[in-house]
């Protein structure tokens, strides 16, 4: 079966984010960018499905500026077979990303679509569920285990109270949580090989999708800074402060 994986280019999770002085956004100039960590987990899951003989082809898609091709190449080096870049320099919000992905799904007809549960920049946690609704597919969100069984997939989900398993008819959408797997690193030979893999570029217009944003960001501010407090010498002082100064115990 064919698996489609959506990967997003975001700020590297180790980078200390800085808000721009004019409050229009965060400073992305000369900042290290990377594949969204949840998307790495999505790629890894697809590769494992291929290694198990469950997946036959892995197509990876990214939406955004030209530079997204770096993340597509990374996914190709990790084991994806083919890439699709939906190129646009406009900001693409989750609903519009879901519409673009729907158009790609209609072209590619994958049996399984794997996305990250959340982008670590917007922290939206929306796109996979929106794609599932738009395509009329079932969804296994926040997955910590994915087992394909014939024309069904069983997804164990990380929920507030613990774990919950659902069974979905294929085609279906899965969004990844942290415990699904541990992504591998790409080897040098595979990075070289990835350069030769097919990567098709298309525009939102080619896919017939209007990507005009529905939400406008009026301002972006730094959070109220917490000032570090004091160091206490020992447990006795700690308990005393909590009881008599902070009055929280």
């Amino acid at each position: 079966m064919k698996v489609l994986v959506a990967v997003k280019r975001v700020i590297d999770y180790n980078v200390k984010v800085r808000v721009k002085p004019d409050n229009t956004g965060v400073d992305l100039a000369n900042v290290k960018m990377a594949m969204n960590p949840f998307c790495e987990i999505a790629v890894e899951e697809a590769v494992r499905l291929k290694e198990k003989g469950v997946a036959s082809e892995i197509v990876v898609v990214s939406i955004g500026p030209k530079a997204c091709q770096e993340q597509i190449r990374t996914a190709l080096a990790l084991g994806a077979d083919r890439g699709i870049h939906v190129e646009t320099s406009e900001e693409v919000q989750s609903l519009e990303a879901a519409k673009l992905l729907k158009a790609v799904v209609e072209k590619e007809e994958p049996k399984l679509v794997i996305l990250g549960k959340q982008s670590i920049d917007s922290d939206n946690n929306q796109t996979g569920q929106m794609l599932a609704a738009l395509t009329g597919m079932g969804q296994g969100t926040f997955a910590s285990e994915v087992v394909v069984d014939g024309d069904k997939v069983n997804v164990t989900r990380e929920v507030d109270g613990g774990l919950m398993t659902v069974s979905l008819s294929l085609p279906a959408v899965v969004t990844t949580d942290l415990r699904l797997n541990e992504p591998r690193y790409a080897s040098l030979p595979n990075i070289m090989k990835a350069k030769k893999k097919q990567l098709d570029v298309m525009s939102p217009e080619d896919l017939g999708v209007d990507i005009a944003a529905r939400l406008s960001t009026l301002k972006v501010e730094a959070p109220a800074a917490r000032k570090g407090g004091v160091k206490v010498a020992d447990v006795a002082e700690l308990v005393d402060k909590l009881k008599n100064e902070a009055k929280v115990i």
Binding site: K16, V17, G25, V26, S94, L95, Q118, I120, D121, D123, N125, Q126, G128, Q129, M130, A132, A133, G138, Q139, T141, F142, S144, V159, D160, G161, G162, L163, M164, T165, V166, S167, A172, D177, L178, R179, R214, L215, S216, T217, L218, K219, V220, E221, A222, P223, R226, G228, G229, V230, K231, V232, D234, V235, L238, V239, L242, K243, A246, V248, I249
Partner: protein
């Protein structure tokens, strides 16, 4: 325009988060209706009718909603929500699962995890793991919003007397079925709403050692949380993870034990009123946000803390 709030519950009890979501809806202004969708939820509907400031409670009681499957709830809420100006739900794993489906079905954007209401179309929310706070304005006719419960003081659970109306809308998308669940059972308070939380990180070394934290939790009436590293290592289950991609907590007192203080962890607890850090590394970033820092070996400090608390 009126507002539809989707109640958070487990079929038998209304969750406290619902009261915070109603508070957020109140900040928008207008009539507030609460939808209770689930199976055998008459008790929840009664509780919802008593919430201060609620106009009407709508009840969709059917087995298809019993496990809160996102596909079925999405269709139900999109249908019922069509006539409202705003649809609000808590940003827990249920709301995060079905609300984007509602937004997509209504062809509107969703604003996730709001922490403040500026006006009926403008909301404040954290981005980049809380390292930036964005004010966003929606141009859509229906605002689909998930709410960070810890950011809104709950309205009173009693005092209202809303009418209760039964809906006979049955939406079975037929796309997914419930197989099973493993829910953590604990007599301790719920992590997301506890007044005191004590969390352990990789420094705890194993799951057995978390018992030390549980003993302190029992003395303080606290909930026990964890860092991602502790969950990934299998010390404790996933529902205990606090952080950007886990639970958001904002208790009166948060005690971080053997946790370094990565931004993804801070994102889940830095709104706590008082933060205590216990860590053997005096350079650990957690000390930069801690009101009270104690540099020391947790295996020495925690037993001492336990006996001091017992002596109080």
């Amino acid at each position: 325009m009126s507002i539809l709030v989707i109640a958070e519950h487990d079929n038998s009890e209304l969750k406290q988060a619902t009261l915070s979501v109603v508070a957020a809806a109140k900040a928008v202004g207008g009539d507030i209706d609460v939808l209770v969708a689930g199976e055998n939820v008459s008790g929840v509907a009664e509780a919802a009718a008593k919430i201060e400031g609620v106009n009407k409670v709508l009840v969709a009681d059917n087995a298809v909603y019993g496990h809160f499957l996102g596909e079925n709830l999405g269709e139900l809420v999109a249908e019922v929500g069509k006539g409202y100006g705003h649809i609000f739900a808590a940003a827990g794993t249920v709301g995060k699962d079905f609300m984007p489906r509602v937004a997509a079905l209504l062809d509107v954007a969703q604003v996730s995890d709001i922490m403040r209401v500026e006006s009926e179309d403008t909301f404040v929310r954290p981005i980049y793991a809380g390292n930036a706070i964005a004010t966003v304005k929606s141009s859509d006719a229906i605002k689909v919003i998930t709410v960070r419960p810890t950011a809104f003081d709950p309205v009173a659970a009693e005092g209202g007397s809303a009418s209760v109306e039964t809906l006979d809308v049955v939406k079975d998308a037929g796309l997914s079925t419930f197989v099973n669940e493993e829910l953590a059972k604990s007599d301790r308070p719920d992590l997301a709403s506890a007044g005191i939380v004590i969390s352990g990180g990789r420094g705890m070394q194993n799951g057995e050692n978390f018992k030390m934290l549980e003993q302190i939790a029992d003395l303080l009436g606290a909930a026990v949380g964890a860092s991602r590293a502790a969950v990934d290592a299998g010390f404790v289950p996933n529902d205990m993870q606090v952080g950007q991609t886990g639970k958001i907590v904002a208790p009166q007192l948060y005690i971080a034990v053997g946790i370094s203080g990565a931004i993804q962890h801070l994102a889940g607890m830095s709104d706590s009123k008082v933060i205590v850090a216990i860590n053997k590394d005096e350079e650990a970033p957690i000390f930069q946000v801690a009101d009270y820092g104690l540099v020391g070996d947790l295996f020495q400090v925690i037993p001492e803390l336990e006996s001091s608390l017992k002596a109080l």
